[in-house]
């Protein structure tokens, strides 16, 4: 019998249904894999007893023939999602010992569909980072290594624990979140698939807030079908989130394998950047060729404001973060450092509790929102955002069904490699993904090949609002041509 942790979610679902193995056996296989994979630092908390109890309940459901869509499927949950009674700290020191008295809507949806929780996954502190190096719990190790090298690589971020755990088979799938690329960039760095759905598709209720107009939850999984299966359960219309949009959740899995014949795929010329390695361009061309061979029509398109998305993001996101993170004051939850008076207590608590990157973004955000600068920075950035959105609207109005771009400007890099004096160097990781958040559109990262050093590289598909189905359809066509990718086990 093959190792149960090698099965995709779809395969595990079939195996459980056919009673080839039990939910308890599947869960035990993952609990063992999580223990043996501790050196990767993907999990910050393991919940094996909870997992066992949930798996037992799933087996009882199977025995009664009452199984639900994700019955008995073991998942990892990013530490940004509130999980009742279980460590939820956004991997920050300032949320020390926080155990919420409530469950996030997205994770509650997964449990209601029968999924099993293995634990909480590592991430950049408050989802601010592109390498998982800003976590209070230390960096995550990418299970992928360069050919002939033992150098430790980053899994990307901020959902680095989610991506690494999925790639290393430490969970069948994982929840993640994406504010500027935090699902798609780590998926690309680990050879996994990940989708950021349209803003408003998944409820943000119970997810620790970073930049509220950009944050969206989505899944990371081994293949495109598994991301479709997970998104169907994660997405919902939620009265507890006023930005949750009243659109029914379709059966995303039905889009997998549908022909792309006749679809118009846009290729934006502004995504050809100087200094991007030739193999990224070659990968992009490979994606174009695959879709053309499958019968899609490739159309050269222009998104003229692309280059302004990242600078505008570094105003909007820190501004919203500085406001959202004002709640961490040492009074209601988490860390508290005593001071001479209440202001001194606030200042000492926040100085000790926040890491360097988080402080940097709070200060930038406070500055751009401060008296006299609001119009010059925040308002201007929000106007630029309108222009970025209009670029996409014009292209879709011309009949484009989806847009194909690279997911990242490089393969995974080494821990410490981009820890220089200039924070902007790290920010450039999100140059291809951030436009999608600014416009609120859905974006799917799908693995498409390996670099010359043997590291995974991903392509990104950008869709119309609430048309995730076309992304699953096109993504599965790319996957059908290139296959899926798994790291050689060394840990």
């Amino acid at each position: 019998m093959t190792d149960l942790t090698d099965l995709t979610i779809a395969e595990a679902r079939d195996g459980l249904k056919a009673k080839r193995f039990t939910a308890t056996e599947l869960t035990e296989a993952y609990i063992g894999a999580v223990e043996r994979g501790r050196s990767l630092n993907a999990y910050v908390v393991e919940t094996p007893e909870k997992a066992r109890a949930m798996a037992r309940a799933s087996d009882e459901r199977f025995a009664r023939g009452e199984e639900r869509p994700l019955e008995g499927i073991p998942l990892g949950i990013k530490d940004l999602f509130a999980t009742e009674g279980v460590h939820t700290q956004a991997c920050s020191h300032i949320l020390d010992r926080f155990k919420p008295a409530y469950e996030s809507t997205v994770s509650a949806n997964l449990w209601a569909d029968g999924a099993v929780m293995l634990g909480k996954l590592n991430m950049d502190e408050f989802a601010m980072g592109s390498s998982n190096e800003t976590s209070h719990y230390g960096p995550v190790t990418n299970p992928w290594r360069r050919q002939g090298s033992n150098a430790t690589l980053v899994p990307g971020g901020s959902s680095g624990g989610s991506a690494a755990a999925v790639a290393a088979r430490l969970c069948a799938g994982a929840t993640a979140t994406d504010t500027g690329g935090s699902i798609r960039q780590p998926a690309a760095f680990t050879g996994t698939a990940g989708i950021k759905p349209t803003y408003g598709r998944c409820s943000r209720w119970g997810i620790v807030a970073f930049a509220s107009s950009l944050d969206q939850a989505g899944p990371i999984a081994r293949d495109v079908r598994d991301t479709a299966i997970l998104l169907k359960s994660m997405a919902s219309v939620d009265p507890k989130d006023t930005t949750s949009v009243d659109v029914p959740v379709p059966d995303y899995e039905a889009a997998i394998g549908q022909s792309v014949k006749g679809l118009k795929i846009g290729v934006p010329r502004e995504y050809r950047l100087d200094g991007v390695p030739a193999e990224i361009d070659a990968l992009w061309q490979k994606g174009i060729d695959i879709l053309r061979d499958a019968g899609a029509e490739i159309v050269d398109i222009s998104l003229p404001h692309t280059k302004y998305a990242l600078p505008a993001y570094y105003i909007v996101a820190p501004a919203e973060a500085s406001s959202n993170l004002a709640r961490y004051d040492g009074v209601r939850y988490g860390l508290r450092v005593p001071g001479d008076d209440i202001v001194d207590m606030y200042e000492r608590t926040r100085a000790a509790g926040f890491g360097e990157e988080v402080k940097r973004r709070i200060l930038i955000g406070t500055y751009v929102l401060s008296a006299g600068y609001y119009d010059a920075y925040y308002l201007k950035a929000q106007k630029v955002r309108t222009l970025i959105k209009r670029d996409f609207e014009a292209v879709y109005a011309n009949g484009i069904d989806a847009i194909l771009t690279p997911a990242t400007p490089s393969a995974a890099f080494a821990i410490g490699e981009k820890a220089g004096a200039d924070p902007v160097e790290m920010y450039l990781n999100d140059v291809f993904t951030v436009t999608v958040n600014m416009a609120g559109l859905p974006g799917l990262a799908v693995p498409a090949g390996l670099s010359s050093e043997g590291l995974p590289l991903g392509l990104q598909l950008i869709g119309r609002p609430f048309d995730e189905e076309t992304l699953f359809r096109v993504g599965s066509a790319i996957e059908a041509a290139v296959g899926t990718f798994a790291p050689a086990k060394w840990w």
Binding site: P311, R332, G334, P338, D344, E347, L363, T386, L387, A421
Partner: protein, 95 residues
């Protein structure tokens, strides 16, 4: 636009984050790097452009103004670093 160390100290005070002299100096360089990066937005003409307020045009949802939850003070204060009899405890703020 760029900031000096005094501005960084003022902003840190507004944000209620204590910074040492050394940190203020380092953050001044880092913030100027970011502010220099976002400077390129000056190239964009936004005359007559409305700021984006929602990514999908929807009507703001309204809910019934009724009590849906409550009477759980021990759960509300359960995560407080210091609490007493379901009150959050803070240093004295009124003389």
């Amino acid at each position: 636009m760029s900031v000096d160390t005094a501005t960084v100290r003022r902003v840190a005070r507004l944000a209620r984050i204590k910074v040492s002299d050394e940190e203020a100096l380092r953050m001044t360089h880092e913030l100027n790097s970011i502010l220099g990066f976002v400077e390129q937005l000056n190239e964009v003409d936004v005359t007559g452009v409305e700021p984006m307020t929602a990514v999908v045009s929807t009507r703001m949802k309204k809910r019934q103004d009724v009590v849906t939850d409550g009477d759980i003070p021990e759960r509300v204060t359960g995560n407080a670093p210091i609490s007493d009899d379901n009150f959050f405890m803070v240093p004295k703020v009124v003389e």
